[in-house]
């Protein structure tokens, strides 16, 4: 279980990115992490991975995240964390060396599915292929908790659809995913739980089952939680064009 207790992050200059986050993600959960730009989604993931200093506690099955258990976390980021000059084959060797639970079979199956070349340097891939490769690495690392930060930015809809299907098909019951994305409607059938961040705080946390029972869609939930004003666009246009 990945547990965050009262996690706070303040950047130099005093801006608060995370303001007392309490969040628990259990084995096998697929959690969507939503929020406007600057809500703290990326910061939250980087804190979990130890890439940023923070206040509060983050534990993995009760133990702090250290080099002893960090292999249980993987990360796919839209910034990409592979080695651009290396081939997929070289990445496989590197991951096999450093991550004892690396899933070579899954890696090869996904590479094959997305028809990515094994012998070409990653910098020669298209944007979509780079995203695919980044996610393939995260899924193949052999981690229990897979963190994905806007992994499909730049991918076309067909690509993304394929990915959701493949993800649902290959995940083991104990594998958990924390997926940060703006593509609410696309992922609503893929995730089991939605967590909304707003100004560094958890503004909403609901399972998709609860939403179904209430007869609400994910988008409705998000809009309600953010108190979305549907008429704000028309009001803004009226103001800009000086309409009565």
């Amino acid at each position: 279980m990945l547990e965050l207790k009262d996690v706070k992050k303040t950047y130099l200059g005093g801006s608060t990115a995370l303001d007392g986050i309490d969040l628990t993600i259990g084995p096998g959960e697929i959690v969507g992490l939503f929020g406007e730009n600057g809500a703290g989604k990326t910061t939250l993931m980087k804190c979990v991975l130890g890439l940023l200093r923070y206040q509060g506690t983050i534990t993995l099955d009760g133990a702090p995240v250290t080099t002893r258990n960090i292999a249980r976390l993987s990360f796919a980021t839209c910034e990409h964390s592979y080695f651009p000059a290396l081939t997929a084959k070289a990445h496989r060797a590197f991951y096999q060396e450093h991550f004892p639970n690396f899933r070579a079979k899954r890696f090869e199956a996904l590479m094959d599915f997305f028809q990515l070349p094994m012998g070409k340097a990653i910098r020669g891939f298209s944007t979509g292929q780079k995203n695919q490769f980044e996610v393939i690495l995260a899924l193949s690392q052999g981690a229990d908790y897979i963190l994905m930060d806007e992994p499909f930015a730049g991918n076309d809809i067909f690509n993304r659809e394929d990915f959701y299907k493949v993800l649902l098909g290959i995940l083991e019951p104990e594998e958990s995913i924390l997926l940060s994305t703006h593509l609410l409607e696309e992922v609503q059938h893929f995730i089991g739980r939605a967590v909304l961040l707003h100004q560094g705080k958890v503004a909403g946390d609901v399972t998709t089952l609860e939403l179904e029972e209430q007869g609400r869609g994910l988008m409705d939930f998000v809009k309600e939680t953010y108190r979305y004003q549907a008429d704000r666009v028309s009001r803004a246009l009226d103001h800009l064009t000086d309409r009565e």
């Binding site: 991975l49 890439l51 080099t67 292999a71 990360f75 980021t77 964390s81 080695f83 651009p84 450093h98």
Partner: protein
């Protein structure tokens, strides 16, 4: 040759052209050694020449009574400046190694979340440290060899009382 050096790849960032760096450092060290050797030979040769004069009639070379060669550091002068420049460049290379992890992607994120705590530091610092050590060792060996030459080829009685005079003895 490259296959023999292959284990060195583990001391450099993944995808870094490490063999070029090793070759570059080796060439820089060789050039520094040649420069140091040439400068030492020239300066020491001049210092030994200055000990002699030519007899007025026979034009035979003879030692000037009481003449001495300068202390060793003065003879060396700036002979090791190229080594210093090479060492400085190698000492700064880890910065380039670190920044390489931010070129085209953020592979530093991956390196920082590896279960092997020192992997990232090793790949940023290891190669440069090894090459720096090699350069310093080469310079030290040459420094010693030149000193032996200084002691051996200086005519008897022409060494200064304190051969390290300008370094504080």
């Amino acid at each position: 040759m490259r296959s023999k050096l292959e284990p060195l790849a583990r001391l450099f960032p993944m995808g870094w052209p490490w063999s070029n760096e090793v070759m570059g450092a080796a060439c820089a060290a060789a050039l520094s050694a040649l420069t140091a050797f040439a400068l030492f030979v020239y300066r020491f040769g001049s210092a030994v020449d200055d000990l002699y004069t030519y007899a007025p009639v026979s034009w035979e070379r003879e030692l000037i009574p009481g003449a001495m060669v300068p202390p060793y550091p003065q003879v060396l002068g700036g002979a090791f400046l190229f080594f210093a420049a090479t060492a400085l460049a190698l000492a700064l290379l880890p910065i380039a190694h670190f920044l390489f992890h931010r070129q085209g992607a953020r592979s530093d994120y991956l390196m920082r979340r590896l279960p092997q705590r020192w992997e990232f530091a090793r790949r940023c610092l290891g190669g440069s440290a090894l090459l720096l050590a090699g350069t310093v060792l080469t310079a030290a060996v040459l420094f010693g060899l030149f000193f032996i030459c200084y002691l051996t080829f200086t005519p008897a009685g022409c060494l200064p009382p304190d051969v390290w005079a300008t370094t504080g003895g």
